[in-house]
């Protein structure tokens, strides 16, 4: 026979398990292809250029999009770096950001498509080297 404590413990375990299972996130399927390039390669502390090429499902370049670029580090306490990408034509866009510290960086792309639809993408830039 289970003691009262064991039953309570079992209840807490079940609740925790349900919480774990219930916290998984669904991922939307991509509908825009984004080619990306970050230079210099390998990335190092200092200015960097992010070049993007947007294409739709039919592989046609997407023009007239607005792309806000945000550079983040993986540790709390680091302020993000923001930049607006300039359109170069033929679905190509370019932004300048600055890697302030060595380590892992994450570049977030906040894309607003010509029709007003929004999407976000993430580029992992691992191991930015010190100068």
């Amino acid at each position: 026979m289970l003691r009262k404590e064991c039953r309570i413990l079992l209840g807490i375990t079940c609740a925790a398990t349900l919480l774990i299972a219930g916290c998984s996130k669904s991922v939307e399927p991509p509908f825009v292809a984004i080619e990306q390039d970050v230079s210099p390669t390998p990335a190092q502390v200092g200015p960097a250029t992010v070049t993007l090429k947007l294409a739709d499902a039919a592989a046609q370049p997407i023009t007239g999009a607005r792309i806000a670029v945000e550079g983040e580090m993986s540790h709390a306490g680091m302020s993000p770096r923001f930049a607006e990408a300039k359109e170069l034509g033929q679905g190509r866009y370019q932004a300048q950001i600055r890697f302030e510290m060595a380590g892992d960086w994450i570049i977030l792309l906040h894309v607003t498509l010509p029709g007003g639809k929004k999407l976000e993408r993430q580029i992992d830039v691992r191991g930015v080297r010190p100068n």
Partner: protein, 487 residues
């Protein structure tokens, strides 16, 4: 009772400063519900951190879970320990949940005798340091939230089954960190007048205050088995103030003292025994000190070169064995080598009559200030350079609920400039070094009164080596990575 009821001293200058005499503060601490009052905001904050970690942004710099845990909590914790005492344990939110749970089910068992030491908590302390590096906890709001959930769960399980404060005394890794660090705090929960205790026959401070007829406990005594009249220092004291509330003579205060003084003496301590005979406590001090350097080493550029080199010679690409080797070196081989050598030289050179192991155990406590200096430098770097980041993160969290009450997140807010923080870091390291030199010299003086310098020099050399390593670490370029072996 109020602070003015404390008998006036004959010579006020000879008595230590007592926080309980501070108007307002004394009243607050004497109030029976002072602890829940302090715990409730932290519990609320913990719940917010859990929810934001699980359901909020996945990026660490944008999450309240990671920002508050790895920046603000750690920074405030070490500063409060340095400037006051173990007040985090007083306001511990986990204990509030435990207290609420104990209204529904009472623990029946006593903590197993074989585990009434620090070995389990030392192992958990190392495990937390290891998982912190392995899973990059600092970069994951999700795992940070689950770590907090796991903590609540562990408290409920341990203190649900076992009586008294078993979790605090024998399990909690944060508590052990606080216990060791608070040996350097300027305040201590202590009896004001030993004569009053000599005349006391009820010992309510440890037994609890009881109903005269039914003998039921109405105000709890110390759950950590610290009997106030023979309690020495802050080790194992959670500042819960149960003893203050239980003492019928209002004879317990929060008194000032010389930081680290308890490390220099070796009296028998209530609930602890002799420091010099506690190998488990010495192991805790070792993990505290060498773990401080190891934890900082995990954040600077050279660690990646070391990891790649180890990966090559071990022919492994997974991080676990590589980290295992690094941890074994830093937390076992290096301390054994340094402390063993210093103890051996002390025996030979200064003629100490102690055996090698007791000698090493005794002097290990002298390294605690160095370790605390390193923790302070490391945690305050993150805390001070990211001091204001909690503002935009909170603004963003509130806005994400659809209530932009706090305005647009001001992501440009960061913290103090790194060059200013570096000066503060150097200050902490120098303070820790000076503290360790003072404690080891104090130990040498009492150990070898005829040749204290000879007994001190080997330990002073160890302190110098560790301090040099700390300074070297601090001047290395920071490299914040979430994937150590990523190249």
């Amino acid at each position: 009772m109020n602070p003015s009821s404390i008998p006036a001293p004959d010579n006020p200058d000879s008595l230590p400063f007592d926080l309980m005499r501070v108007p307002g503060l004394g009243h607050l601490f004497r109030w029976r519900y002072a602890r829940p009052l302090l715990q409730a905001p932290l519990l609320l904050l913990s719940l917010i951190m859990i929810l934001h970690g699980l359901f909020g942004p996945t990026l660490a710099p944008k999450s309240l879970a990671t920002t508050l845990s790895w920046l603000h909590f750690r920074g405030v914790l070490v500063l409060v320990l340095l400037c006051a005492g173990n007040f985090f344990c007083l306001a511990c939110p986990f204990m509030l949940v435990r207290q609420l749970a104990r209204r529904f089910f009472k623990p029946r068992y006593s903590w197993p005798r074989a585990l009434r030491n620090k070995w389990l908590s030392v192992g958990l302390f190392v495990l937390i340091l290891f998982t912190y590096e392995l899973f990059d906890l600092w970069s994951s709001p999700w795992w940070t939230a689950w770590l907090i959930v796991a903590y609540f769960f562990s408290v409920l399980v341990v203190d649900g089954f076992f009586k008294h404060a078993s979790f605090c005394k024998f399990v909690c890794p944060i508590g052990q960190f606080n216990f060791v660090a608070s040996t350097l705090s300027p305040f201590e929960v202590k009896v004001r007048d030993q004569d009053v205790c000599t005349r006391c026959h009820t010992n309510d401070c440890i037994r609890g205050r009881r109903e005269p007829v039914s003998d039921l406990v109405t105000i709890r005594g110390c759950e950590l088995a610290l009997f106030q009249p023979s309690k020495v220092g802050n080790m194992d004291c959670t500042f819960c103030l149960d003893c203050v509330h239980a003492c019928p003579h209002d004879n317990i205060g929060i008194l000032s003292r010389m930081p680290a003084s308890e490390l220099m003496a070796d009296p028998i301590r209530s609930g602890i025994g002799y420091f010099s005979r506690r190998k488990d406590l010495a192991a805790l001090a070792i993990v505290f000190t060498f773990g401080a350097l190891l934890n900082a080493f995990g954040m600077v550029s050279p660690v990646y070169a070391v990891e790649r080199w180890l990966g090559r010679i071990l022919h492994v690409s997974h991080e676990t064995p590589v980290l295992g080797v690094i941890f074994t070196f830093f937390l076992i081989l290096e301390p054994v080598l340094l402390l063993g050598l210093a103890a051996w030289v002390t025996r030979i050179w200064a003629g100490s009559r102690r055996a090698l192991l007791p000698l090493a155990v005794r002097y290990t406590y002298g390294l605690v200030p160095l370790g605390f200096g390193m923790w302070l430098a490391h945690y305050c770097f993150h805390f001070l350079t990211g001091l204001y980041t909690v503002i935009p993160v909170t603004q963003s969290a509130v806005a994400s609920l659809g209530w932009p009450l706090l305005g647009e997140p001001r992501w440009s807010l960061t913290g103090l400039p790194a060059n200013i923080v570096q000066v503060i870091e150097i200050g902490f390291l120098v303070l820790g070094f000076a503290g360790s030199l003072a404690v080891t010299y104090g130990l040498a003086e009492s150990d070898c009164p005829d040749s204290p310098l000879r007994a001190f020099l080997p330990w002073g050399t160890v302190c110098l080596a560790l301090w040099s390593a700390s300074m070297w670490l601090m001047f290395q370029p920071m490299e914040m990575r979430a994937m150590l072996m990523s190249g």
